[in-house]
Symmetry: C3
Subunit: 172 residues, 3 copies
């Protein structure tokens, strides 16, 4: 049974996920850091990229995602379960689109030379912990359903326009 | 007017939809079966695929979606209305991506030979019924805004990587 | 701190956003008009398309989106904040797909001749006002992360099928 109070906790946990993804796609690394517990672990891409500790996670993401890594990660379908007063777990669907504007050595597997588009879909498997200042990720990982990589550079008539601010509100 | 209690019911109905889509894209047919009332009806693709009764619906989906049917169905924008204490209706936006790895006879219209990608968008029109063990679909259908099918096999440099577990958590 | 009552207001504001997007993609201009306060302002595409007043906004969208403009706009990740009893602001992620079936003079920048697909991602920055009959947009704008335009007419084997009713429920 879900209570009204559970709905509030789900709300806070969802806000955490949204803030994390906004920090990720807008390259706001300080904001992103606040989303993780100090001892957080991540296992992205089914464990291909695993890191322990908030600082290592943020360092990895900064190196993976330079200015030439243009991304849109979207999540939906949250299935969240409170496992104690201060812990929870959640499954989310995601889809992602990445435009590689330049070579990317972190994606060594794929020989990214710039001009590639990557699209994919899968599931996030998260664990959350409630700290004095709110919910944080204690772990986060994902498994893909599929991943597609395709070189597009030089394709006739293709225009890829990128916002140098990654969509942040420029009125401010 | 929406009450706090309505928010709880909306939450349960949304969880049903998310569970259905997770069962669908991960090919968990037993889990999928639990999402439907026994007399449920579906009318997919504007009625092109219509089936009566939970067992017939699940049988149809199993045949449509063999291991070589790799899909990502996502939904958003739920507009749900309670129509009685035990019934409700809902409109959802959806988008879907399908990678056909092999010929698919169910999509007879399109002569699917393997290597095609299908993408689309539209609206689900659902009806729900509250049974003793929770909300179920009494009917589900969708109309498309558009549908795109394109053969991609042999396209230069294209890599489509598929998870044999369709994104399920392999740590378990 | 978020209260139970705040969750209700967030729900109403989300319903407004979903109704707006359904009206937009199904070309229901009268329904779309009811989503805006009379003095509403919009600044789409980082301000490239700015309009003042509900009637001007609707007039612009009608001209931008004739029957040959087939679109799927999806939003997620709502981060909504109540700023008074009758005002609120919100950030949403969005992705959009547009199929241009014919030349479109409003997109003068891109020389749209028909057959192009546009895809993009970004953030909506909304302001809301609570009127006697519910929440309305007092302003709405977006910044893109990226935008891709590609001519596809004549591509081998490509089928784009469009519903003349843009996905509306034809059973009614």
């Amino acid at each position: 049974m879900t209570s009204m109070n559970d709905l509030l906790e789900f709300h806070y946990i969802q806000q955490l996920k949204y803030r994390y993804l906004r920090a990720l796609d807008t390259h706001q690394w300080d904001l992103l850091s606040t989303c993780f517990a100090k001892a957080a672990k991540v296992w992205y891409a089914g464990g291909a990229f695993s890191h322990d500790g908030r600082d290592n996670v943020v360092k990895f993401l900064r190196e993976l995602m330079p200015d030439s890594f243009i991304s849109s990660h979207i999540v939906m379908h949250p299935e969240i379960k409170l496992t104690s007063e201060t812990t929870a777990e959640g499954i989310w669907r995601f889809q992602d689109i990445v435009h590689f504007l330049e070579p990317n050595p972190v994606f060594a597997l794929w020989d990214i030379r710039g001009g590639e588009e990557m699209t994919g879909a899968g599931y996030y498997y998260d664990n959350y912990v409630k700290e004095p200042d709110g919910w944080k990720f204690s772990s986060m990982g994902y498994e893909r359903i599929f991943e597609v990589i395709e070189p597009r550079a030089g394709r006739l008539g293709l225009h890829v326009t990128v916002d140098p601010q990654f969509g942040m509100d420029r009125r401010k």
